[in-house]
Every structure is written in C-alpha cells, then in structure tokens.
C-alpha cells in the first residue's frame, strides 16, 4: 500500500510544485484579454508582446450576455481587459463590476475623437475607453436581389424573400428591428410594445432561414441566404471576399453600438491592462485594427492615417444621412425577461 501511495504521491507533488513555480514566474508579465471573436488581428497581439514583453492570454466570446455571465460569476476576477458594448458598460459599472481607469496613464487617450468620449453610458469615461463602433444593418447579395429595391427593415418582410433571410441570433437586435418597423423605440420596456414587435416578427418567420451571431457573413458567402441582418464589419469582410455583397443602412434606422475597453473590478494585472489599452489607442495600431476588422475606429488620429478607400467606405464610416433614425442600444434591466419569453415563443411557435 505504502509503495502505491508513494508512486502516486511523489509525481503528483512534483507536478503541483512545478505548476506553482510556473505560475509565479509567469504572473509578472501577462495580461488576460477577453474579447469578441474576430475583433483583433493576431498581428497586433504579437507586436504588443514584442514591444513590451507582456504575454497576452487571449480568449473570446460571441455575446455580451456570455461575457457578462462569466465576469459576474468570477466576481470581476480572472480577466484584466474586457470589451462590453455601451449598454453593458452602464450595467456593469452600476453593479460595481468595473475598476476605474486611470487616464493619466493613457498617453494616447487624447487621440480619441471627442464625439465618441463622455457618452451617456459612461460619463467622463470613468470605467471605459472606446474601442470600435459599428452598426447592424442589412446585407444584400446583389447577384440575386437588386439592392436598389431594398431600403428599409420592412423590406425583409416581402414574400419573395421566403427562406432567404438571416437574422442575428440576438434577441435585442431582432426585436430592435421589429420595433423600429412599427415606429416604436428599439429600447422599449413596455410589455405591450414588445408583444406587438413579436406579432410582427411572427409574420417574418416564413422568410427566416436561420439565426446566426457567430460569423454571420458565412451563410451569405456560401449562398444559404441572400438578404438579412448583419454587422457592418462582417459586411465589409464579406464584400472583401466578393464584391456582390452590398451593405444598406435601413431607413427606419440602423442599430448602433460602441464596444469599450474596461478593466474588471478585481483584475490582477491592472498595470499591464493600462499598458495594453494605451497600446490599442496608438494611431498606427488603431488604424491596423480598423483596416483589418472593418469596424469604425473612434480614434481621430487613426482615422486620419486610414487608407482613403477605407475612410470613404460607407459600410465602415457612414454619412450623416446613413445614420438618420439610427439609435444606440441601452440597458433595459428586468424587461429582458419579457423579451426572452417572446423570443423563445418566436423560435418554436410555428
């Protein structure tokens, strides 16, 4: 018996010891970055590590909800840098999940365009630094559908698009669209209005082929669907692959969002997180991110450096007219439960 124990125990102790030593040695120079999938070029991470010696442990999520659930569960520990959308910055800040950002350590904060700082969801940028912003609009495969005939969200309801429409797998994006078609606020918490939006969506369901929020451009590129919702960055990447894809700002108003860098309350590598934020705010880096990912940079100096084609690309940088009626999503609190129950019903009630 003792021999067996010995045989098991000795290696186990060694493994544990070496794990401890490894983690102590590594703890000095790393930063845990939790970001949306396909939201940062690998090259940027490599360059950061090369310049600073700080190792980036990079993991991704595909919805604010998934990210929030994890941060909440870990009580603001475990990650040093996270990228929630504006309405989640608001929520997380209010719930004490975020750490104040020391802007005196961010030499590049001044590069940000003033129209993107000091937003209502985080006055004075106490907790958050703008990373990228973008919109949810309509993408059309012009080889199959004449983009001139598509102007509004309501056009998705046309009977000729039966089985050809993709919607994002996101309850807020889908209901926002329906509410706007009805002329209501996309951020409503009124149960009657939410139900009206549901009734309207039921009429859309025969057209809906699938819900996807993972890499929504793929079903368009592989020809499964020809029209539907998409984020502008994904539309940009689809158009890079094939010019037949056209991005349209619906007349009822596109859905806008801003994603922001925040430091969770109990992050362990706060200095490195600040270093990484400052690095991401550098004009040349912000420019590289924008050109690769296809979302708009809130960084004024970076926009100046952009390739002319990119800066004048309306998919990424919409004109004032494009954004007529467009609105940011805001936190809706407990009303999410009402949305969610209609959402479940929408997906099964046929």
């Amino acid at each position: 018996m003792n021999r067996i124990l010995f045989k098991i125990a000795v290696p186990a102790v060694f493994i544990l010891l070496s794990l401890c030593i490894a983690s102590i040695a590594a703890a000095k120079q790393e930063v845990y970055f939790y970001n949306w999938s396909e939201y940062l070029p690998e090259e940027v991470i490599r360059q950061f590590t090369k310049e600073t010696g700080i190792k980036v442990i990079y993991t991704t999520y595909d919805s604010n909800e998934a990210m929030y659930a994890k941060i909440r569960l870990l009580d603001g520990k475990g990650y040093d840098l996270v990228v929630p959308s504006g309405y989640f910055v608001n929520k997380m800040g209010r719930e004490g999940l975020l750490r104040e950002i020391d802007k005196s350590r961010l030499n590049n904060f001044k590069n940000l365009d003033a129209q993107h700082t000091d937003r209502p969801f985080d006055p004075g940028n106490r907790y958050s630094i703008p990373y990228l912003w973008g919109s949810t609009g309509i993408i059309v495969n012009s080889a199959e559908i004449d983009p001139e005939t598509v102007r509004s969200w309501a056009d998705l309801w046309k009977p000729e698009f039966k089985g050809k429409v993709l919607l994002l797998n996101d309850v807020r994006d889908v209901f926002f669209m329906s509410l706007r078609v009805l002329g209501l606020s996309g951020n409503t918490t009124n149960p009657d209005e939410i139900q009206q939006a549901y009734d309207k969506l039921v009429q859309l369901m025969p057209n809906v082929r699938l819900f996807n929020s993972d890499t929504p451009r793929v079903p368009y590129i592989t020809g499964e669907v020809s029209i539907g919702q998409i984020w502008n960055g994904e539309a940009f990447m689809a158009a890079e692959e094939n010019e037949k894809f056209v991005y349209i700002y619906p007349t009822e108003g596109a859905i806008l969002w801003m994603d922001n860098l925040v430091i969770p309350k109990r992050a362990e590598n706060v200095d490195n997180a600040h270093a990484l934020i400052d690095f991401l705010l550098r004009p040349d880096i912000a420019r590289a991110i924008c050109e690769e990912i296809g979302y708009a940079s809130p960084n004024r100096e970076a926009v100046k450096l952009l390739d002319k084609d990119i800066r004048n690309n309306r998919t990424i940088y919409p004109t004032k007219e494009d954004l007529a009626g467009a609105d940011f999503q805001v936190d809706i609190g407990e009303a999410i439960v009402i949305y969610e129950s209609w959402w479940e019903k929408l997906k099964t009630g046929r």
Binding site: E65, A66, A69, R209, L210, T222, E224, T348
Partner: protein
C-alpha cells in the same frame, strides 16, 4: 489482504468522492436554485418560490417541450427503422465480418461529435458535397435547401445517435434463441407472424433501451439544432442554455433542467417495469 481491502476502499472512496463532488453537489445546487428567485445583479435571490415550475406549465414553454419531444421522437423512430434491420443483419453475419462492421459503427465515436456536426453541415450546404453530386449527376437541376431546416436537425440527431440504437438491439438479437423461431415455424406461423409475435416481443428490451438511449440525449443536443437547424428548432437543451446565458434567469433554467431530469427518470422507471413484465411473460 489488507492491501487489497485498502485498495478497494481507496478506489471506491475516490469514485464516491468524485461522484459526490461533480454529480451530487451540482445537482443539489440546481435543484435548490430552481426554487429561488431571479436577481438581476446576483443571478439568484434567496427567496423560496414555486413560480419557476408554474411558469414551465405556461403554454409558451410547454410548446418548447412538446416541440423538442416531437423532434426527439422522430429521430428515435428513424434510428429504429434504420437500426433494427441493420442490427438484425449484423447479428446474422459470420463473426469475422460482424466484428469489422461493429467496429465501423463505433469508429465515428472517436471523433468529437461537434466536429462531426460541422462535417454534416458541409455535406448538406447549398454548395455542399451532396448538392454538387446530385447536380453533377443530373438528378436535380437546382440545389436542394437542406441545411437550416428541421430535416437537417433530424439527420444530425440520427447520425450522431445511431450507434446508441444499434448496440442494444444487436445485444438482444444476437442472444435470440433460433430454436424459438424454428418452433414458431413448426407451429405454422408465417415469417411475418413470427416476426411480430415472437421476434419483436423477445427483442423488446433492446428496442426500449435503444429508444431511450436515443430519445433522451436528443432532447438536449443544443449544438445540433444551432448548427444544422439555424437556431430555429429549439430543443430543451437550447432552452436551458438560453435561460442561463442570455436571459440570466438561472432559477427558471434550473427548473427546466430539473423537469427534464424528472421526465428522464420517469421513463427509466417505466423501462425497468416493462422489462420485468416482459421477463415474467417469458417465464410463463
């Protein structure tokens, strides 16, 4: 001797601790959560309520359960229809070939089912392998829209769960006493009558076991519905995942999970009773 018993205690203790820690405690936590209330900030609030179970009886959610059960049932039936003749043929082939065929049934298990689901996706896609083949051979003129339909979900569920149907069926059919079949023929039963009145009752334990092994997992395989069905056909698994992740309504998700466990438990109990009944009949 003492070493042996110590070893025994240690292994049983370890297994027991493992099960207690990773099975019992999480399940007790889920059970407890299902009686609490949702809280926007802390996920759950320590207030006892039966509201979550009442909400499951809401027509909206009963529909989710009903739809999921219907999808799982269709998958089970297809598995049975395909699996029964296959298992029968398998049990009747010569041993060498039989082992090879069994191996072929099991080999796909060695690959993660998520990856196999992605593979099915590229088979069924509009510009996928199947459509290209059918177009090339001139069987169809226009690509079939297979992916992101209920059919695709059924195909995925059947494909992934097929071995769970075949293996229990094979086990009972292999043990089938051929003398009983001869007796049936001697007593004047035709092939059809022998099949319906002798073979099916004798293989019923395998049919029920296979059915349960397909039906129960089919309720929960949310990634099949997400990847092949375009997230339109909600299975109970999707529903639970949505409650935990998107709606952040843990108590409700927990109640749904407990309900599903209860349904499974009831079906397993029914299974044991039916087995006992069948066993008694045999003796008589």
């Amino acid at each position: 001797m003492t070493e042996k018993s110590l070893f025994k205690t240690a292994t049983i203790g370890l297994t027991g601790a493992w099960l207690g820690f990773f099975v019992l405690i999480p399940n007790v936590m889920i059970l407890a959560t299902s009686f609490l209330q949702r809280d926007e900030a802390a996920f759950v609030r320590l207030d006892f309520t039966l509201e979550n179970y009442r909400r499951i009886l809401d027509p909206v959610y009963l529909q989710v359960f009903g739809h999921s059960a219907a999808m799982a049932l269709v998958a089970t039936m297809v598995c049975l229809a395909l699996g029964y003749p296959f298992a029968y043929a398998l049990a009747r082939t010569r041993p060498g070939l039989r082992h090879l065929l069994l191996l072929l049934v099991i080999i796909p298990f060695w690959t993660n089912s998520l990856i196999r689901t992605y593979a099915i996706r590229s088979l069924l896609a509009t510009q996928g392998v199947l459509n290209k083949l059918l177009l090339f051979t001139g069987i169809i003129d226009e690509p079939l829209r297979l992916l992101y339909t209920g059919t695709a979900v059924t195909i995925g569920l059947v494909y992934i769960l097929f071995p769970f149907m075949v293996l229990p069926l094979f086990a009972v059919i292999e043990k089938l006493d051929t003398r009983l079949l001869e007796a049936s023929a001697d007593l004047g039963a035709g092939r059809f009558q022998t099949f319906v009145r002798v073979i099916i009752p004798l293989t019923m334990p395998g049919i029920i076991a296979g059915g349960l092994l397909v039906f129960l997992p089919a309720l929960g395989m949310f990634y099949v519905s997400d990847l092949l069905g375009g997230a339109k056909d909600l299975l109970i698994g999707n529903f639970i995942k949505n409650q935990f992740l998107d709606a952040r309504d843990w108590p409700f998700g927990a109640a749904a999970s407990v309900t599903m466990t209860l349904i499974m438990a009831l079906m397993l109990i029914a299974y044991f009773f039916s087995i006992r009944k069948i066993g008694k009949k045999e003796i008589r």
